[in-house]
């Protein structure tokens, strides 16, 4: 095996990417036709989802086998790390678009609709009597009156949960490096359990918002930014928690060594990223 280590491992042809493309084709075709009102679109979409899951299991399975088979040298490992880093950076920029929308709405469009800056006539001619406040459903009160989710209560608990999970995964990481497998698997399990609890709480929060507060996705710009930001975040937590679960299963199977555990670290980074986004959300969406 040692001779594999001194060369950069270039895999032989693989069919997973093309399976992935077919999956994306079905997925996008399905969602689009479904949104256009064709019921069969739903099933095409589900087929796409199934193909994608099949692809992801197969592709990652191959990579895991190669990794466990010792084909990867430290340079390959570094490629993976860098790849993950830049992927997370792209995710940061995706969220930046939505945070940008939030800042724009709060500091520009809403005040403008209320007549600020060079928009005196906007207010006078089109939205007379509208006063710029935040939160708002806009001058047209799109979606009707609503109440907001305060920063205390559920969101605070959720913050605590995510922050704790950040600690637990760090403990797990140290345990992995120190070779303490028992602590590793316990704290890893704790982390994804906390993750799933977060997702559950978030779901409870949404139900509460819809049923009691009349705060909905279509509650003007407030509802739009609130649900899009927390929604995409929630999606990312879900994915992160699933990733953690898989890593945990691999730990149980005896994968990873103190100096070879890229997948673990990548997941940990991802988890910290999701965490950091939440802190941003908590401050700018719930608090301010």
């Amino acid at each position: 095996m040692s001779h594999a280590q001194d060369k950069y491992y270039v895999p032989h042809g693989s069919h997973w990417p093309i399976v992935g493309s077919i999956g994306l084709l079905f997925l996008m075709l399905g969602v689009s036709t479904w949104l256009n009102g064709a019921d069969f679109g739903f099933w095409v979409m589900m087929a796409g989802v199934a193909i994608m899951i099949f692809m992801l299991t197969g592709w990652f399975g191959t990579v895991i086998n190669e990794s466990e088979g010792g084909l990867y040298n430290p340079q390959v490992d570094k490629s993976f790390r860098m790849g993950m880093f830049w992927f997370i950076f792209s995710e940061v920029m995706f969220f930046a678009a939505f945070f940008g929308a939030l800042f724009y709405a709060r500091n520009m469009s809403v005040p403008w609709l209320g007549g600020e800056s060079n928009n005196f006539f906007t207010n006078l001619l089109l939205w007379e009597g509208y006063e710029a406040t935040w939160p708002t459903g806009g001058p047209g009160e799109v979606g009707g009156e609503f109440q907001t989710m305060g920063p205390l209560g559920l969101p605070l608990i959720n913050t605590a949960i995510l922050l704790t999970s950040s600690v637990t995964i760090t403990i797990a990481h140290h345990a992995l490096i120190a070779g303490k497998r028992g602590i590793l698997s316990t704290f890893l399990a704790l982390t994804f359990i906390l993750g799933f609890i977060f997702v559950y709480m978030q779901a409870v929060e949404y139900v509460h918002a819809y049923q009691d507060l009349n705060l909905r996705l279509d509650s003007g710009i407030y509802g739009s930014t609130f649900f899009m930001l927390t929604g995409f975040h929630g999606m990312h937590v879900t994915i992160g928690a699933i990733m953690l679960t898989i890593i945990w299963l691999r730990v149980i199977r005896g994968h990873f060594t103190p100096d070879n555990h890229f997948a673990f670290e990548a997941t940990a980074w991802y988890w910290h990223f999701v965490d950091a986004v939440w802190v941003g959300l908590y401050v700018f969406v719930y608090w301010m």
């Binding site: 403008w112 609709l113 060079n118 928009n119 006539f121 906007t122 006078l124 001619l125 089109l126």
Partner: protein, 278 residues
């Protein structure tokens, strides 16, 4: 202009374009190739700004291309040139960083001055609310209780369709004429308040040096003071759907008293219309 003339014209133009642009434009000096100077102080300032920057660009082009062409002619292998091997010079780098910065500053100052004036729409003599629709304009004289739509004029409208059979060269001001123009007095500061009803449009009259987007849900301001009477034409400048090319703008600048007279006929007209509707 009859159909045969058009064909001849086309042939001539084909010939000219094949000969190349320089020739073609020299041959017909009357073709509009530059921005109009316009009829407001600011349109003329904008024009001067445009020409100033243009000449700077020409100058830069002459120097840069001059050096390059010299090098292309002299430093070619077929002329027996031997390649020198220098590959950096801090002095040169500093010089050609600083000189452009200076040129840019020279451009930036007057540009900023004009910009500030353009934005100053305070204290108007007349305010018109302009609303863009798919695909026509609506004008409302704020304090005069006059409002009306302005749409593509009949002759253009008839000729514009595919297979209309019309020769568009026979239509006066093809696509640039409306049924009811915007009428404004000469020498007065006219403020426009622009908004739209459906999608974004943009109100553009080159002679006034005004282009401002009309955005649904928002009101934009702009202004002009026409120094000459006459008819000035423009078009919607923001893609607004299939008939974006068919919502022209015509502004008629008239003397103050003619404007008053026009206002009177208009308010009578609207009053009558209102009665008829009731």
């Amino acid at each position: 202009m009859g159909a045969t003339t058009v064909n001849n014209l086309m042939l001539r133009k084909l010939f000219l374009s094949l000969l190349g642009l320089g020739w073609a434009s020299a041959a017909s000096a009357d073709w509009a190739i530059n921005m109009p100077r316009g009829i407001t102080e600011l349109s003329q300032e904008t024009f001067d700004l445009h020409m100033m920057v243009f000449w700077w660009c020409v100058a830069i082009g002459v120097v840069v291309f001059g050096v390059m062409i010299y090098s292309l002619l002299k430093h070619r292998k077929s002329k027996g040139a031997e390649a020198a091997q220098f590959s950096h010079s801090t002095t040169a780098e500093v010089v050609w960083t600083i000189i452009p910065v200076i040129i840019l500053l020279i451009m930036a100052v007057p540009a900023a001055e004009t910009m500030i004036k353009l934005e100053d729409s305070r204290d108007p003599d007349l305010t018109v609310v302009v609303t863009g629709y798919q695909w026509k304009w609506h004008y409302k004289y704020q304090d005069q209780d006059i409002d009306y739509y302005s749409t593509l004029a009949m002759p253009s409208l008839k000729a514009r369709f595919k297979d209309s059979g019309a020769d568009v060269f026979d239509v006066d001001n093809y696509l640039l004429d409306v049924d009811r123009p915007l009428v404004v007095p000469k020498g007065k500061k006219v403020r426009l308040l622009l908004t739209a009803n459906d999608v974004i449009h943009s109100w553009w009259v080159p002679d006034l040096a005004i282009k401002k987007d009309a955005i649904p849900g928002m009101v934009n301001e702009t202004w002009f003071r026409a120094l000459e009477t006459g008819t000035f034409r423009g078009q919607c400048a923001e893609l607004c759907g299939k008939d974006h090319g068919y919502m022209p703008i015509v502004v008629e600048v008239v003397e103050e008293d003619a404007f008053q007279a026009w206002l009177d006929t208009q308010s009578e007209g609207s009053a009558q219309l209102a009665q008829a509707e009731n």
